[in-house]
């Protein structure tokens, strides 16, 4: 009986696929050929005729191409997960943990400037007090102590992405993940908004300004410390120096 494993290895090697193949796959393909061969023998064919018949039915180039395609699909999925999704999720997780930790430690956001503006506005527009309630919530958004911790989570995310051999663009995306998530949320929200709600109401442009300030607080401001944390990991390694050393 022919050595089916050897045949599979040789044929796949000639199609440039030998190194993609695990020993398990070679064994399985060989077992299939062996079963086909036994089947032909049982039908009354001679040994050489049976093996010829079995082998002539195999399109090795198609088999190699299809297996490569399946492997590539898995590889690219795994690479993308390690290089982008995992670091991005870690970034979001760490940023959230840091926020919770600061709150537990009693480090509350301070935004003296906002309070000054609010006080000034309250004095000059006493009738518009209803607009001040949501504006007051902005004080919580400009969480300066939390913003100061964000370079840490961004640095961790971009380090993880770099270790997964992610290109600089993916490292940047992983580092900016919290801001990008908010960007997606705001784009979705703005698509949901009716156009007339964007019109300035009489007196105080609350709807639009609140939306714009929220976007600033959640997207733009965190992006700055996140970028700071990411920057050291965006540099490509100096290959020439590594080689000469």
């Amino acid at each position: 009986m022919p050595d089916w494993k050897k045949i599979v290895r040789e044929q796949m090697s000639s199609e440039g696929s030998s190194c993609d193949l695990k020993e398990e796959i070679i064994a399985e393909l060989a077992a299939h050929l062996e079963d086909g061969y036994q089947n032909e023998i049982a039908r009354g064919l001679g040994e050489s005729e049976a093996s010829q018949h079995v082998l002539s039915a195999v399109r090795w180039n198609r088999l190699a191409r299809e297996i490569r395609r399946v492997n590539r699909k898995e590889e690219s999925m795994n690479n993308r997960t390690r290089a982008l999704w995992f670091p991005a999720v870690v970034n979001l997780f760490v940023a959230t943990i840091l926020l919770t930790l600061l709150e537990k430690l009693g480090v509350h956001p301070r935004m003296i400037h906002a309070h000054m503006v609010l006080n000034h506005y309250a004095k000059s527009h006493p009738g518009d007090i209803k607009y001040l309630v949501p504006v007051d919530r902005l004080v919580d958004m400009f969480n300066l102590p939390w913003l100061c911790t964000l370079p840490l989570s961004a640095a961790l995310a971009s380090l993880l992405a770099k270790r997964a051999k992610a290109p600089a663009a993916l490292r940047l995306l992983a580092g900016l993940a919290p801001s990008l998530v908010w960007l997606v949320v705001f784009v979705a929200m703005s698509l949901e908004f009716e156009l007339d709600r964007w019109q300035f109401p009489t007196g105080f442009p609350l709807e639009f300004s609140y939306f714009a300030l929220s976007a600033l607080a959640r997207i733009v401001l965190p992006a700055v410390p996140l970028l700071l944390g990411t920057l050291p990991f965006l540099r490509e390694p100096d290959l020439s120096r590594t080689q000469t050393n």
Binding site: I25, A31, H32, L63, I67, K73, E74
Partner: protein
């Protein structure tokens, strides 16, 4: 374009055939191909090049899982069985193909009228 549609149909029908067969019992590659050929009267046939890449793809998607064990002749073969995820895929795939054939059938009825 036609080639792509044909390959998608072949792929989809292959997935349904394999899942349906494995829903009955675990089988190894050669048996899967043999039973599909026999039970469809040769209308559906699997070759080495079409069967295994599809099985590996389905395994990576978590629909089937392969395990080596000895067959009735005492030879080690990789038996595929349906996973719970694969079982969940079966009903929507069947429904999809049923509506596909119904659509074709109604179209053919119109063309013959």
């Amino acid at each position: 374009m036609t080639q792509r549609i044909r390959s998608k149909i072949a792929r989809g029908s292959g997935e349904l055939a394999i899942l349906s067969l494995l829903a009955e019992q675990p089988l190894y590659g050669f048996e899967i191909a043999k039973q599909i050929g026999e039970r469809t009267g040769g209308a559906l046939t699997f070759t080495l090049a079409s069967l295994y890449p599809l099985l590996y793809d389905m395994e990576k998607r978590g629909w089937v899982e392969g395990r080596w064990q000895a067959n009735s002749a005492g030879r080690d073969r990789r038996y595929y069985r349906l996973t719970p995820g694969g079982r969940r895929q079966l009903a929507p795939l069947r429904a999809e193909w049923r509506s596909f054939f119904q659509a074709l059938d109604s179209l053919a009825g119109v063309s013959h009228a």
